[in-house]
């Protein structure tokens, strides 16, 4: 009984998650699909091929991936020391730290974007990739810090003490022990950072000021145009890199699965 409940719950969950994807595919590869037809009548790949042969599409994807990678690396570098303090140490004001950490998730991207835009215009970062990357770090950091600090909370420093007593230098300990022990959480944190940056629309638009074009921006302007096939095609392209990143993540996690289980 319990098992059946669990299975059907999961089935419903998967359906909710996959249904929109199928809808996109249907729109992307069909010409005319009107109410009340339950399924598309004519299938075609013309819109799809036109969209992926458009140089704007490909360059926007490349730029988006490049930005997402930079954001992932930078936010991990910032998050690691902060997460270590949050996860391992007891200190007064720890609650306040958490509160402040989540501020960026509640300030709407719009508000952050406009505030930053004013600031970046003054210091010459507006319209640059550097500016967009810095802006993306703001919504990214809370999630990376949160993920890593919950891993640090379960991390046992005695592993580091062992390595120290065996003669490893602090830098060797960091590379050969700490990073290795944290790998599963680092992978998940990278995933979060990549996904948040990749799907960022408003911050890119506001800080990029029309000079930095990523796929979400193309998608939005296509949405104003209103051709469902183009929108659906761009949406499918939009989903491709994240799916690959998630697939990679899932593989890494399953490789590390045994290690995690041994560790905790």
């Amino acid at each position: 009984m319990k098992r059946i409940t669990a299975y059907s719950l999961r089935a419903v969950l998967y359906f909710i998650l996959i249904a929109p994807l199928l809808l996109f595919a249907a729109y992307a590869f069909s010409t005319r699909w009107f109410f009340p037809q339950p399924f598309p009548v004519e299938w075609t790949t013309i819109t799809f091929l036109r969209a992926i042969n458009d140089s704007r599409t490909l360059s926007s994807m490349a730029q988006g991936i490049w930005i997402a990678i930079l954001v992932s690396v930078l936010s991990l570098m910032l998050a690691l020391p902060a997460a270590r303090v949050q996860g391992l140490r007891e200190f007064r004001g720890r609650q306040l730290a958490w509160l402040l950490l989540f501020l960026p998730t509640i300030i709407p991207p719009l508000a952050i974007g406009m505030g930053l835009n004013i600031l970046f215009l003054r210091i010459g970062l507006a319209g640059t990739i550097a500016g967009v990357v810095l802006a993306h770090i703001i919504p990214t950091l809370p999630y990376t810090i949160f993920t890593l600090s919950s891993a640090f909370a379960r991390f046992d420093e005695n592993y580091e003490f062992q390595a120290l007593a065996l003669g490893a230098s602090p830098w060797q300990i960091f590379l050969k022990v700490t990073l290795r022990m944290m790998t599963p959480s680092l992978v998940v944190a990278t995933l979060f950072a990549f996904l948040i940056s990749w799907s960022q629309y408003l911050l890119t638009l506001l800080i990029g000021g029309g000079q930095i074009i990523t796929l979400p921006i193309l998608l939005f302007s296509a949405a104003s145009g209103g051709n469902p096939s183009t929108i659906a095609t761009l949406s499918l392209l939009f989903v491709a890199p994240p799916v690959m990143v998630i697939a990679f993540t899932a593989r890494s996690l399953s490789q590390h699965d045994n290690e995690i289980r041994e560790q905790y």
């Binding site: 592993y159 003669g167 602090p170």
Partner: protein, 334 residues
Amino acid sequence: MTTVNIISLNKTYPNQPVPVLKDFSLSINDGEMIALLGPSGSGKSTLLKLITGIERPDSGDIQFDGSSILSIDPNKRGAVLMFQQSYLFPFLNVEDNIGFGLKVQGASAETIRGEVKRMLNLIGLPGIERRKSGQLSGGEQQRVALARALVTNPKLLLLDEPLSSLDTSVRMNLQEAIRNIQRELGVTTIFVTHDLGEAMAMSDRMALLLNGEIVALDKPENLFHRPRSLTAAKFMGVSTFLSGDQLTVKNEACSSSEKIFAIRPEHIRIQKEACKNSMLGVVSDCVFRGEYIEYQVDVNDVTVRARMPMPAPMFPHGEQVRVNFPQEHLFEVN
């Protein structure tokens, strides 16, 4: 290989009123195994942290072969640790775990492979190079952790309750294994434990710790049979004390002027007949423990615990008996 001198160490943690170590001094001979026995909070683990350099003492000195190590980086001191948990790196196999210390110190792959092989033979687990720590039993993990610690040829081996998470039989085996390996390699060792039997079975000398101070330091046999002080006697499992002149039983010394005699529970005799040095009591409990029976007898409101080896006379709960303290087993404590 190394003599260790610990000289007048003091350590107080911030936000704690009481010092963890008070003017703590201890000299350890080359190749000796010293057991530190004490309850939690007695400062045992802090001492290990000061020696490895994870913590710094407030004052005092620690010397290896006569020269201070306090100014040496923790990773250059040559003092290796083994904890209650093995802390084998879960992402490395046995070979890479044991070779870790050699690798970070820049040894060649060949040297490492050879040394790992030698250590695996020493700990009696040859051929398990490729296994992961999750595939080892608790006892095997601790053996590998010992190999990992010893492969770097350390000056001092620190064992922090390495056996307390293991089952009794595995524990006994590992006690023998560690003792034999330690003697074979002749490595100076500090063994921290709260288990009296383990401390006695493993060590050349035992130090009894209480509140950051050594209350007794001697060979296990001497401490066990003739502890000099009341505190040391209690540590060693003595629970019956008598004030000498009137031969009255007591659990605590009340006045400092009178002489106090102690007796080990296995030397107290429970019997029906009165004799010299015997007192009247009532049996309040009687537990069969295999090789002996443990009696609890109430004598003048004080509970005397006696261990009678089998075969022992059986006295039921509530029976009036004589508790006999043989003259030859009474010893004075202060």
